[in-house]
């Protein structure tokens, strides 16, 4: 692990409509780190990731990728992105290979895929255990298999940095294990990873650092919170409905 910063956000603010979603986020991910971005729904964790890839405009602050300001960053082959899974596939059938091959375009000049590119696509499919489904339509896949295809698409360009938005959401147990193993392999090979997660789950042992967001602010940045007691039992579902300390009690309107 070196000190070179791969992702750097300084004082980043962003609005969706007129609602502020990020209120000055500082976040640095260094080479070789695996950082989990945690927080409740609406805390801004997905938006933070989407500012990094330029999908959400930033109203203030600076973002750097590999030490280059994001606006001037062109070396997208170094970044692999796995969007939050949408159930809607395209309106036209496409095979697993066709979808994964589109991830290789960042390395292909003028969109022409050479032999080496096709081999990289094949390797990416092997990594997620989907090589036997290469010629099937993506519409025929289960949620977990679909997620594996999206990860293979990100890996097809052989990126140094992986950005994943809720990769484990709605994924069956078998696919979760495949995904965790794939990620372990990437980390062992030196990849840097920024993950948006709802809970640490099966990826917990991989994670170096957890950054917790609340209402668009960084609440915690450090080692992942250790699960203790009953929470540490395997298979325990982390649900934390209680309000944070110091917050106003939730008024339901029933008693007040």
């Amino acid at each position: 692990m070196s000190d070179e910063s791969v992702i750097s956000l300084r004082g980043v603010r962003a609005e969706l409509g007129s609602r502020p979603v990020l209120r000055g986020i500082d976040l640095t991910v260094r080479r070789g780190q695996v950082v989990a971005l945690l927080g409740a729904n609406g805390s801004g964790k997905s938006t933070a990731v989407r500012t990094v890839i330029g999908q959400v405009p930033v109203s203030a602050g600076e973002i750097e990728l590999f030490g280059t300001p994001r606006r001037r960053f062109r070396d997208w082959a170094r970044v692999g992105y796995v969007p939050q899974r949408t159930t809607a596939a395209g309106g036209v059938p496409a095979t697993v290979t066709e979808v994964v091959a589109s991830g290789r375009l960042s390395r292909a000049r003028f969109g022409v895929l050479r032999k080496a590119d096709h081999e990289a696509v094949r390797r990416a499919l092997d990594l997620v255990g989907m090589a036997d489904r290469a010629r099937d339509s993506v519409n025929a896949l289960s949620g977990g298999q679909h997620q594996r295809v999206l990860i293979a698409r990100a890996l097809a360009a052989e990126p140094e940095l992986l950005i994943m938005d809720e990769p484990m959401a709605g994924v069956d147990l078998a696919s979760q294990e495949v995904l965790a193993a794939t990620l372990r392999g990437q980390v062992a090979a030196g990849a840097t990873v920024l993950l948006v997660l709802h809970e640490l789950g099966p990826l917990e042992p991989l994670i170096d650092r957890a950054v917790v967001l609340r209402e668009g602010c960084v609440l915690h940045d450090g080692p992942p919170p250790e699960a203790v007691g009953q929470h540490a039992l395997p298979g325990h579902d982390h649900v934390h409905p209680h309000a944070p300390a110091g917050a106003e009690p939730i008024r339901t309107g029933l008693l007040s």
Binding site: I53, G54, A77, G90, L105
Partner: protein, 300 residues
């Protein structure tokens, strides 16, 4: 083949084949982006171009090309910036385009809505020498874009957000798609007419999908289907004296129904094969162990 002895039929068949190739070729990307009705919208806007062509005594085909390209670019801009009421803006563009066409035709010397009819519903037998030249040039552009940039257009149409992270110029490609669709509309205008253009962009793709699992095969089959129905419709209209545009569209819908019926057993067989492949890995029934194991102990 006496039909080929007439110069007007040669021109008509050439125009029909070019439409059969180009309409599904760009249509497949519109269907993939779930903008199947975009062609219809551009068709409405193109009417203003036809009307302007008559008013200024310029070629209606080229005027329609210019106006529909501008309209398509405007629609794409509305899609970027008009987050809230984009649909209302599009509706105004469509109906404004149609009303503009009717208005300009009536203002032009000696013009009446009768002139417009041949553009609304197509008029293959009146395709002129210069129309054919325009159609050939425009069709060449459409083929160049839809085949040459197929991987980029596929990526952008499949997942815009991901395409941006692969460094593709997403906005430029979206604009190019819109412009190409507009050009295709004017290519097809003389053959099937502005009001029926969208059918040739969408229905062959929908019909091909009944059989295919890959994008490449869907592309090939929908273009083959497009060429078959445009030739079939043109020849039928010659012998039976029926309007070619309507004949072509009805033939396309017929092909869709036929392929859907034929594809049903194919889909069942594929589903069975898939189920068989998965059942070996993942038994469908629960196995109940004879004795209780440690994992069955429930702590309270």
């Amino acid at each position: 083949m006496e039909i080929l002895n007439y110069a007007f039929m040669q021109r008509a068949l050439l125009a029909a084949v070019l439409v059969g190739i180009t309409a599904p070729a760009i249509g497949i990307y519109l269907v993939q982006r779930r903008q199947a009705l975009m062609g219809d919208g551009i068709g409405h806007v193109a009417m203003t171009g036809v009307g302007l062509g008559f008013l200024l005594s310029w070629s209606p085909v080229w005027m329609a090309t210019v106006v529909s390209v501008l309209g398509a670019v405007l629609m794409e801009l509305i899609r970027w910036y008009g987050r809230t009421r984009g649909d209302i803006a599009l509706a105004m563009l469509f109906y404004g385009g149609m009303a503009g066409g009717v208005m300009f035709i009536n203002l032009s010397p000696g013009g009446s809505n009768a002139n417009l009819t041949s553009y609304l519903f197509g008029s293959l037998s009146t395709v002129s020498e210069s129309d054919v030249t325009a159609i050939c040039l425009l069709a060449a552009f459409v083929v160049l874009v839809t085949v040459g940039l197929r991987r980029q257009l596929f990526a952008v149409s499949q997942d815009e957000e991901f395409a941006r992270v692969t460094g593709l110029p997403v906005r430029a490609l979206n604009l190019l798609t819109a412009v190409t669709a507009a050009v295709t509309v004017t290519v097809a205008m003389r053959v099937v007419g502005l009001l029926l253009v969208s059918a040739l962009m969408v229905v062959p793709v929908a019909a091909a999908q009944q059989l295919t699992r890959s994008f490449a095969a869907t592309f090939a089959i929908s273009v083959a289907l497009g060429v078959s129905v445009t030739i079939g419709g043109t020849v039928t209209s010659y012998y039976q004296d029926v309007p070619p545009g309507a004949t072509i569209v009805l033939l396309t819908i017929g092909a869709f129904i036929l392929l859907s019926v034929l594809a049903a057993p194919l889909a069942r067989r594929r589903a069975r094969a898939l189920a068989a492949a998965q059942s070996t890995a993942d038994p469908a029934e629960c196995k109940i162990p004879a004795t209780r194991g440690v994992a069955d102990e429930v702590g309270v």
